[in-house]
């Protein structure tokens, strides 16, 4: 039984990891914490859903199309909210992403109402796998695999490609990056596109697992924040591992203590991490220079 909870936790945690990855990509290169991640990914999920249901497109066309559209939304968001606010104080940046969140929330409600929607069933082929007492539903399993592949691709992109190198340079020091001839604005747009695409993928997977709703899905996405903090805000591997740890603990608490404990466990973990080790497991400890 415990094993089953842990397995569920790993699969849900992979979702959190994917959402966390979306947060970390932006934080790493722009030092902005994107609070709008929840609504952005909900929007991505809804776009994919509309393409699937309204336009009756097959998944292999709808998904890339939806990711492309959400990439454009990401670029637009960066252009409208953060470009005019470059190098502003922290509060301004946080408020900018919160206002963006509010706008997107309004747009989502206007476009897709407040009802809950489910993806068409049987979208992903496969069957639940039974291993003795444990069963592995195929949909979360595919979601888990997708998350891992996505993580590998993003990691490869950051470590091995020229654009990734530019992003890492920008993250290290914006002035140096500019002096080296990197177009920082360009890098910022690219990070937002990448991040929102990753987030939207998480939105689609999450929607496929539990359905989409204008306020519930962003609330679920918020549970990825503890994973990010636990893993360390500037560590990609940390985001994924932290997400999985939070997912496992959440499912264990929900299974052992009672289902309503699952809602709040991530936030207790968050508080605990902030009290004990604010920089997280793999994050860099911030040393203040005068």
């Amino acid at each position: 039984m415990i094993l089953q909870f842990m397995l569920n936790g790993i699969m849900i945690g992979a979702m959190y990891g994917l959402i966390g990855l979306s947060i970390v990509i932006i934080y790493k290169s722009t030092k902005v914490f994107n609070f709008a991640v929840g609504t952005l990914l909900t929007m991505g999920g809804f776009i994919c859903l509309s393409l699937l249901v309204r336009l009756q497109l097959p998944l292999y066309i709808a998904l890339p199309l939806a990711l492309g559209v959400s990439g454009i939304i990401g670029a637009l968001s960066e252009r409208v909210t953060l470009r005019p606010l470059l190098s502003q104080p922290l509060l301004t940046l946080i408020m900018a992403t919160l206002f963006l969140d509010s706008i997107l929330q309004g747009i989502i409600v206007m476009s897709w109402t407040t009802y809950a929607f489910a993806f068409p069933s049987g979208m992903i082929p496969g069957q639940t796998l039974f291993l003795g007492p444990i069963f592995i539903p195929h949909e979360p399993f595919y979601a888990f695999i997708t998350a891992l592949i996505c993580f590998a691709i993003v990691g490869f992109f950051f470590k091995k490609t020229q654009k990734g190198l530019q992003m890492r340079t920008t993250a290290e020091d914006q002035d140096v990056a500019m002096a080296l001839g990197i177009n920082v604005n360009h890098v910022f747009v690219l990070t937002w596109i990448l991040s929102v695409i990753v987030g939207s993928l998480a939105g689609v997977l999450l929607g496929n697992l539990v359905g989409l709703q204008a306020s519930m899905t962003p609330a679920m996405a918020f549970k990825a924040l503890p994973g990010v903090i636990l893993g360390g805000l500037d560590s990609m591997a940390g985001a994924v591992i932290g997400g999985i740890i939070v997912g496992v603990l959440e499912q264990l608490a929900g299974g052992v203590l009672g289902s309503h404990y699952a809602e709040v466990t991530p936030y207790f973990i968050l508080l605990l991490v902030l009290f004990v080790r604010p920089e997280g497991l793999f994050g860099m400890k911030r040393i203040e220079r005068i």
Binding site: Q88, L91, I107, W112, L274, P278
Partner: protein
């Protein structure tokens, strides 16, 4: 206001006074009288709305002290309001405590809860601290819903009795108006004076550069915690008033988005100015109300369900757009516009 030239301060007391000229004093008294006579002219739903504005303003005064003066970001103000509201509700319903005792008690308890979530500010700041208050926003309603649902009625509304003054129940909006407005005015004056006191200056020093403040001998942690405490006192006061204004409390009223709205009102009004708080609250609440009135006119253009959703979604969208516009074009908010206007009419028509 109105001190172009020729009016000199003769001693420090005059220099420090808030109300400095006879005209100001007259205007202040006149406007206070006007405010208190307001229920004679307006009533019903408008008065209800004014009460909402006053309660919100009290809460935002707290956010202003924590975020505007001390520079600590809080995303959990409505959760603290929930603590205050439920304290008042539970103590008056189950202990049959008088509202006038329950309210200070609720403020104090909320203050302590605020302290608890302020403790991480010792080591962290910025995004991380926002995270701690965000955790409060999820943990506190969870406690309210799940720990003793037999007492708090879980997701449902717990009815709250109206406060009594010598057998007379403050039930009508008019009587609540006097209660809320009096506390609101006191709260604003307290905030204004706090800003000028030793504590207020220490808060500003911590905000501007905490390292420098520490070197100058300001105990950062003490002042941060104090700011959290005072902010939560305001939240508790606003929450308690909210409970009697709504005549009941329910966890639905205290959501994360409401907290974000409070912060947004502060930004729109002008960070760090008690008067700006009122501008921001009045502006955003009026905007929200007008968008809501606009809803039924927009609705017929769409299908049934979509129309309702469009009407519902307009509020957050307009709020977000207005907030962004202010952040980008007038980051110091309506208060700055007010100051510019004052400077303009003071020197008009010779603007140099």
């Amino acid at each position: 206001m109105w001190r172009p030239s020729g009016i000199m301060d003769m001693n420090y007391k005059e220099d420090e006074a808030i109300v400095r000229t006879r005209l100001q004093k007259g205007l202040l008294i006149a406007s206070l009288v006007a405010v208190y006579l307001l229920p004679l002219w307006v009533g019903g739903r408008l008065l209800n709305f004014i009460n909402l504005i006053t309660i919100t303003a009290i809460s935002v005064q707290g956010v202003n002290i924590l975020t505007g003066l001390t520079g600590q970001i809080t995303l959990g103000q409505t959760a603290f309001m929930a603590v205050g509201a439920y304290c008042v509700a539970l103590t008056t319903v189950y202990w049959h405590l008088s509202f006038w005792l329950a309210l200070p008690l609720a403020m104090f308890i909320t203050g302590l809860v605020g302290l608890l979530f302020g403790i991480p500010s010792l080591r962290i700041k910025g995004f991380y601290l926002a995270m701690a208050t965000l955790a409060a926003q999820f943990i506190i309603p969870w406690f309210i819903i799940n720990i003793r649902p037999d007492l708090t009625f879980g997701y449902d509304t717990l009815p709250v009795p109206s406060p009594l003054i010598g057998g007379f129940a403050l039930k009508s909006q008019t009587s609540l108006f006097y209660l809320c407005m009096t506390l609101g005015i006191f709260g604003t004056f307290f905030a204004r004076n706090l800003q000028r006191s030793r504590f207020g200056r220490a808060f500003v020093a911590v905000r501007d550069n905490d390292l420098a403040a520490e070197i100058m001998g300001i105990g950062i942690f003490r002042y941060k915690l104090l700011a959290f405490f005072i902010c939560s006192l305001y939240a508790g006061l606003a929450g308690g008033l909210y409970a009697v204004w709504m005549r009941g409390v329910s966890p639905d009223h205290f959501t994360l988005s409401e907290s974000i709205w409070l912060l947004g009102m502060l930004i729109v009004g002008g960070l760090g100015h008690p008067a700006g708080v009122w501008f921001g609250v009045i502006f955003i609440r009026t905007l929200d109300l007008s968008v809501r009135y606009l809803g039924p006119y927009v609705q017929p253009f769409f299908d049934a369900d979509v129309g309702t959703a469009v009407a519902k979604g307009m509020g957050p969208a307009v709020f977000g757009i207005i907030g962004l516009v202010f952040l980008i074009f007038e980051p110091r908010g309506l208060y700055r516009i007010w100051e510019r206007f004052k400077a303009f009419y003071r020197i008009w028509p010779f603007s140099y």
